[in-house]
């Protein structure tokens, strides 16, 4: 009965959406703001990766909201899961074999390096703060899986996260003070396709990368340690 009802409901929604989709043919040329971003993006923000110039430049405020969403989820996860569970279950974990252990320790810095590369070059190549941050967090996940005796220092990760968040906001406020607009690109834009170009975009992306990396690592840490 329930299934039938649900299927009926979904069919109605599907019908409506099909009618609505007629207005959005597939593969059409770009839209108004998309065109503007592609044609003027390099000139206005100095970043050759247009997606980055949209994410950090034109829609930078969304990005601030986005890292806040992740921050809220991390804190919320800690609040939900981390209650009075310090040493209730003492799980016996079998140590990983030597090969896995050594492999993890070998790969850990390499993955960190790749993650850092990706968020530092966010304005030049596909990639950026979120992607780099996720890669960094995956390095910590690997460490948890392979080297079960290693732990993230909680205060250190909190500090890194805080520095990332504060840098973003500080950059925005300096822009407000200099150029009358929050997140105004007050640094020289430089030569496009150089590493030191695009003004504040690399700084913001490094901040995001640090913040996202430590947040995701914090989520992993909470889920593994306290549940």
């Amino acid at each position: 009965m329930r299934k039938l009802f649900v299927i009926l409901l979904l069919l109605i929604i599907a019908g409506g959406i099909t009618l609505s989709l007629k207005e959005i043919p597939f593969g059409i040329p770009k839209t108004k703001i998309g065109d503007h971003f592609i044609n003027k993006g390099v000139e206005e923000t100095g970043s050759v990766n247009i997606v980055t110039s949209v994410v950090v430049g034109y829609r930078g405020f969304d990005t601030l909201g986005e890292i806040t969403v992740l921050f809220a989820a991390t804190i919320g996860l800690g609040a939900v899961i981390g209650t009075f569970r310090k040493n209730s279950v003492n799980r016996e974990v079998e140590a990983a074999s030597l090969i896995v252990y050594t492999g993890c320790r070998f790969l850990f810095p390499v993955i960190l390096l790749v993650g850092t590369y990706i968020f530092i070059h966010g304005h030049l190549t596909p990639g950026g703060g979120f992607q780099g941050g996720a890669i960094i967090a995956s390095a910590f996940l690997l460490m948890y899986l392979g080297c079960s005796n290693k732990r993230i220092k909680e205060n250190l990760s909190k500090t890194v996260e805080m520095i990332g968040g504060l840098t973003f906001i500080a950059v925005g406020i300096i822009g407000l003070a200099i150029g009358q607009d929050f997140l105004f690109n007050f640094l020289p834009k430089g030569e496009p396709a150089e590493l030191l170009s695009a003004g504040i975009i690399p700084i913001v992306y490094i901040a995001i990368g640090l913040k996202v990396g430590s947040e995701l690592a914090g989520i992993i840490d909470n889920l593994i340690q306290k549940s």
Partner: protein, 119 residues
């Protein structure tokens, strides 16, 4: 056949969305519901990307000289998807942690059996 080739991406994206909606509305197990929410998210992200696509388009990165602006896909949906993915991850993490806690309290993940609070 032209209909299919025109709309196959939309059908795929919305197919995922409806599968997800069906799972969320019908399944009893909380983990399955969370998987359903995740599938809906994926479907919506695919849908957003599909909106921005143009035929034979390349990624909107001027990584080497000679790339033409009018052959690039719309960058805005890609930026939106980046945001949407992060939001999806946030909700997923929170949902998982709640599921862990729920299991500790009730000993089951069957949502029909957990009904302490009623009208």
């Amino acid at each position: 056949m032209t209909f299919l080739s025109e709309y196959i991406y939309y059908i795929g994206a919305f197919g995922l969305i409806f599968i997800g909606l069906y799972i969320v509305l019908v399944k009893k197990n909380l983990i399955k519901v969370i998987i359903g929410l995740s599938i809906i998210d994926t479907g919506i992200n695919l849908f957003l990307i599909t909106i921005g696509y143009i035929r034979d388009g390349t990624a909107p990165v001027f990584s080497k000289p000679g790339l033409k602006a009018n052959e690039m896909v719309d960058p805005v949906p890609q930026a939106l998807v980046l945001t949407a993915i992060v939001i999806g991850v946030a909700i997923l993490a929170l949902a998982i942690s709640l599921a862990v806690k729920l299991y500790k309290h009730h000993g089951t993940l069957n949502l029909r059996k957990i009904n302490e609070q009623k009208w």
